[in-house]
Amino acid sequence: MLLIACPWCGERDETEFHYGGQAHVAYPADPEALTDAEWAAYVFVRDNPKGPFAERWCHAAGCRRWFNVIRHTVTHDILAVYQAGQPRPVEFGLNGGAA
């Protein structure tokens, strides 16, 4: 089980959290202007890296707030935790996705 440090509540068991997938996926600025393929990419396609991954978690059984985590998808090590809306830490060499 993962031990996740909620930015507000501190370390809690994974079972208190809900997973939200890739972080920093921005809603398209002008959705009407997108082609079907671009819209499909926004709706359905996410990064799937083998390595550090910026992802969202919600402390569903606690403060109920969303926040972001950098987690290594092979070792499951949590490398960073930061609040929603903050920029992604640059030191993990993440690729793809919106800033």
Binding site: D36, N48, E55
Partner: protein, 408 residues
């Protein structure tokens, strides 16, 4: 119990050569799991294409082919899915003879239990849909469930009483490792090179075309490159800038110690969420859904194991004193509609067969059959056509979440 064979097949002698990779092949298949091996076998058998290599970064059938819970069924709701899985089931029924290898395909039936009124409606609807589509299916009331599988707790005095079940009598289980070895032996006999410890690290490009692969054992030219890499598919397509609607998740399973034959069939429950069979050797084999987070570590979180064991105890009080012998995890690639992606890609000569998620083993022969045909002719096999990558753009999804008789 008559449905359980008392003996496993003898461990065979070497079933395939260990060739050095040649510099060039007509088709390079990436991944020597069940789907990759079946693809190579049918390329040779059905299309006469034998100048084929199957490249495997680890050892043959050491990924999800070694980690699945061996359940074979075709009772899907969506007709596109039922068609391809039923094609697989028909092939399974002939494969032991065709491959001259008894991998103990045991058609002991699969029960999908219903615990709520919604489950009952969904189950009866799926039985009707299956019958219309030529897939064997029956609806059992709780007494018939007890008769078919006496160890299921059908008491009304439990948290989620069994209100009925669907039964597919032709469904069952098989010895997964032996399936892979049977396919590998025949593919090898046709002249296919099975090359282990050979990881693909890049693609050779000529404009928009792929003309080969870079590997840890050198460059290999290929007329066509066919991916069959399951959870690692997107790490490969990232190398050619092709982003796919795939997320790789841990999927865990477990076995008990060896027990006397006690469980005559396969039981799946979507609502309390576990599926349970008993292997020929005697282990109870259980699995459930994926861990929610992305993962490539071939392990997940232990509370998933606790959850499925709690579900198993709810359904089978007789298992209360059984011990867990082993748990493990595989890496499954899940698509947004929980259906596979099979077919061509925007990169010429690069083919895709992925996204089987939690249910790829049962599809093994049909997956290889339609993929080989797609590769041989450069256009989708009719059964594969609905599963093309562009369905995410057109919106013609095959939404198997909740329709596939088990949650993903």
């Amino acid at each position: 119990m008559s449905s359980m064979s008392p003996q496993l097949p003898e461990h065979p002698d070497w079933l395939w050569r260990t060739p050095e990779p040649k510099t060039s092949y007509d088709v390079v298949v990436v991944g020597a799991g069940g789907h990759g091996l079946a693809t190579a076998y049918y390329l040779a058998r059905n299309h006469g294409i034998t100048n084929v290599a199957v490249l495997e970064r680890g050892w043959l059938a050491g990924g999800n082919m070694a980690r699945n819970t061996t359940i074979i069924r075709s009772n899907y709701l969506c007709e596109e899915s039922a068609a391809i899985y039923e094609h697989a089931l028909k092939l399974w029924e002939g494969l032991p003879e065709e491959l001259e290898y008894d991998f103990l395909f045991s058609q002991r039936g699969v029960l999908n239990l219903a615990h709520t009124l919604q489950d009952v409606r969904e189950g009866t609807r799926r039985v009707n849909a299956n019958r219309l589509g030529g897939v064997d299916a029956e609806w059992l009331d709780p007494d018939q469930v007890r008769e078919f599988c006496p160890i299921v707790n059908t008491s009304p005095d439990v948290r989620y009483p069994v209100l009925g079940a669907t039964l597919q009598p032709r469904a069952g289980i098989a010895k997964h490792d032996h399936v892979a070895w049977a396919l590998a032996r025949k593919a090898d006999a046709y002249g296919v090179d099975l090359i282990q410890n050979c990881e693909v690290t890049g693609f050779v490009r000529d404009g928009d075309r792929v003309t080969g692969v870079e590997t840890t054992r050198g460059r290999i030219a290929a007329g066509r490159v066919a991916l069959a890499a399951a959870g690692h598919t997107s790490t490969l397509t990232d190398l050619v800038g092709l982003r796919l609607p795939l997320q790789s998740h841990p999927l865990q399973a477990l076995v008990s110690e060896l027990l006397e034959p006690v469980h005559p069939t396969v039981v799946m429950s979507n609502h309390v969420h576990v599926y349970v069979s008993q292997a020929h050797k005697g282990e109870l084999v259980m699995g459930a859904g994926v861990d929610p987070y992305n993962g490539y570590g071939q392990r997940g979180s232990f509370h998933q194991i606790e959850h499925q064991m709690a579900a198993a105890l709810e359904l089978f009080p007789i298992f209360a004193r059984a011990h867990v012998l082993r748990t493990w995890g595989g890496i499954v690639d899940v698509t947004p509609d929980a259906s596979p992606i099979i077919g061509l890609t925007p990169v010429e000569n690069l083919f895709l067969n992925c996204g089987w998620g939690t249910g790829g083993f049962k599809a093994t022969p049909a997956s290889g059959w339609v993929y080989a045909d797609t590769i041989a002719h450069g256009r989708p096999h009719p059964l594969a056509e609905p599963f093309a990558l562009d369905r995410f753009t057109t919106g013609a999804l095959i939404d198997e979440h909740g329709a596939a008789a088990v949650a993903h």
